[in-house]
C-alpha cells in the first residue's frame, strides 16, 4: 500500500544521524521533525535565519518576530542562533547543512528537479529552493510517485522548468525509495505491499532493479 504522508516522513527520519543540521521544506518534509529517532538529536535550519528551530509556540509564547521559512510562528530550541539571510544562505550554499528534505513536482534520471513553477499557472517563485538544491550534497526529495491519474513524476527528462540541474540523488515517494546515479533510477526499497512491477509501471524514467528489493520497515 502507498505510504501516507506521515509514513514518508517517518522513512526519511531513518536517514537522520545524530548531530545533523537539517533543512526541512514545507509540507511533508516538515513532518520529518516528528519522527527523529529516540536518543538522536538534530538541529533544524530555517532559511529565513534560524538554526535550532523549536516546536510551535504555546498561545502565550507567540512572537511575531519569530517565524520559520513557512512564515509560521515557531520557537527556538536550546542552543539556537539567529542570523541574517545572507549568512543563512552562506550556510546553505556553502554546503554546511547535512541534510535537506524538500518536495518536488518532478525528478529525472539525471538528478534534475522541477519544483517551483508550472507554466500557465500562477508563478509564486522559488523562494530558497534553488539555493537549497544547489548547495546541499545530501538531499532527499519527497513526493508522490505519480499523479492521481497515474502519470509518473519520475521521468527520463523533467518537463517543467528546473529548480536545479543534476543535484538530486535520493527520492522517497509514497511507493519507493530510489537512488539516482549514472543517469538511471535505482530501486532501493519499496513501500510495504507494493510490488516492483507496480513501481516499474509508474516510473517513466529507466529504473534499475537488482535482486530482491526489500520492503521499508518502520
Amino acid at each position: 500500500m502507498a505510504l501516507s504522508r506521515e509514513q514518508i516522513a517517518q522513512r526519511v527520519a531513518q536517514e537522520l544521524q545524530d548531530g545533523y543540521y537539517v533543512n526541512l521544506g514545507i509540507g511533508i518534509p516538515t513532518l520529518v521533525a516528528n519522527y527523529v529517532p529516540k536518543g538522536m538529536d538534530v538541529m533544524l535550519q530555517s532559511e529565513n535565519g534560524l538554526l535550532g528551530m523549536g516546536q510551535f509556540p504555546n498561545e502565550d509564547e507567540i512572537d511575531a518576530d519569530l517565524i520559520n521559512a513557512g512564515k509560521q510562528t515557531v520557537t527556538m530550541a536550546t542552543g539556537a542562533s539567529v542570523f541574517n539571510s545572507a549568512e543563512s544562505f552562506a550556510m546553505i550554499r556553502g554546503g554546511h547543512v547535512d541534510l535537506t528534505v524538500l518536495g518536488a513536482f518532478e525528478v529525472d534520471v539525471n538528478g534534475n528537479i522541477a519544483s517551483y513553477m508550472i507554466p500557465g499557472k500562477l508563478i509564486k517563485g522559488m523562494g530558497g529552493a534553488m539555493d537549497l538544491v544547489a548547495g546541499a550534497d545530501n538531499i532527499i526529495v519527497t513526493m508522490t510517485h505519480a499523479s492521481k491519474h497515474g502519470v509518473s513524476k519520475l521521468l527520463t527528462k523533467c518537463s517543467l522548468p528546473l529548480t536545479g540541474k543534476g543535484c538530486i540523488k535520493k527520492v522517497l515517494t509514497d511507493l519507493a525509495f530510489i537512488e539516482i546515479k549514472n543517469g538511471k533510477f535505482h530501486l532501493l526499497e519499496r513501500a510495504p505491499g507494493v510490488s516492483v512491477e507496480e513501481i516499474l509501471t509508474l516510473t517513466e524514467g529507466e529504473l534499475m532493479v537488482s535482486g530482491d528489493v526489500p520492503e521499508m520497515s518502520f
Partner: protein
C-alpha cells in the same frame, strides 16, 4: 556628535527625496521585520514607477502589498510573491513586472551591492530559467552562473533598537534581509522600536554599524502574523 545623530522626527522627513521611478530595497521576510510605516509613507506620498527589491511583496492590505492598488510598483525583484489577489491580477495582466530571484542569490546581491562587489558566481539557478542570459562558468569542475549586485536609491529597514548614531540591533528572525538592505541603499532609512543614546549598545553586539544608516525614526508597529501556528497535542515542528 551632532553630525552623527541620524534621528528624524517625521515619516515625511524619513522618506524625503524619494521620487518616481526610483529603486527601493526593503528588508523583511513575509510580514516579519518589514518597515511597515516606511511602506505606508510611500503609499501616502503616491510615488510611482518604483522598482522594489524585497524577498516578498506583502499581502493585500499590509506590507508592500498596499502599494499595489495605486499601481505604484512598476517592477518587483523577489523570491516569492503572489500572496495577494491584486498582485496576481497585475502580474497576469502584465501591469507589473516580476523578476524572480532565488532567495539566497537575492540576499547575496544586496550584500554585494553594499560591499562594492559588482558580481559573483553561484551554483544556485544553474541550468534553470534563472540562468537565462547569464554567463556560465566552471570552477573546479562545478557549474556556476554570474549574478550582479543590486543597489537601491533608497533602502528601507526595520530594526529593533538603535542608538542615535544609527547603530542597529535586530530581534529574532525579524533580522532576515534587513542588515543587507541597510548596506545597499544610497539613502538608508531605518525605523525602530526604541532609540537609545550612543554608548548604550554593546559595541560587540551591534548588527548594523551606523555608517550604513542615513535616517532613523522611532515607529510603532502592528507586526501582523501571517501564519499563526500554535502547539497542539499532535505537535508539529521539532520534538
Amino acid at each position: 556628535m551632532a553630525g552623527f545623530d541620524k534621528v528624524v522626527s517625521s515619516y515625511e522627513e524619513a522618506m524625503a527625496g524619494l521620487t518616481d521611478n526610483m529603486t527601493i530595497i526593503s528588508g523583511g521576510f513575509g510580514l516579519c521585520g518589514i518597515p511597515e510605516n516606511l511602506i505606508a509613507e510611500i503609499k501616502r506620498k503616491g510615488t510611482t514607477g518604483l522598482t522594489l527589491v524585497s524577498n516578498n511583496c506583502g499581502v493585500d492590505d499590509f506590507g508592500l502589498g498596499i502599494l499595489l492598488p495605486d499601481r505604484q510598483i512598476k517592477k518587483i525583484i523577489a523570491s516569492y510573491v503572489g500572496e495577494n489577489a491584486e498582485f496576481e491580477r497585475q502580474m497576469m495582466a502584465g501591469e507589473l513586472e516580476v523578476e524572480l530571484t532565488p532567495q539566497g542569490t537575492l540576499a547575496e546581491k544586496m550584500r554585494a551591492g553594499g560591499a562594492g562587489i559588482p558580481a559573483f558566481f553561484t551554483a544556485t539557478g544553474y541550468g534553470t530559467p534563472v540562468a537565462i542570459g547569464k554567463e556560465e562558468r566552471q570552477f573546479k569542475g562545478r557549474n556556476y552562473i554570474l549574478e550582479e549586485s543590486i543597489i537601491g536609491d533608497f533602502a528601507i529597514v526595520k530594526a529593533w533598537k538603535a542608538d542615535r548614531y544609527g547603530n542597529l540591533v535586530y530581534r529574532k528572525t525579524a533580522r532576515n534581509f534587513n542588515p543587507m538592505a541597510a548596506t545597499a541603499g544610497k539613502i538608508t532609512v531605518v525605523e525602530v522600536e526604541e532609540i537609545v543614546e550612543p554608548g548604550e549598545l554593546d559595541p560587540d553586539q551591534i548588527h548594523t554599524p551606523g555608517i550604513y544608516v542615513d535616517r532613523l525614526i522611532l515607529g510603532s508597529f502592528e507586526k501582523r502574523i501571517e501564519q499563526r501556528t500554535v502547539r497542539t497535542t499532535t505537535t508539529q515542528g521539532e520534538k
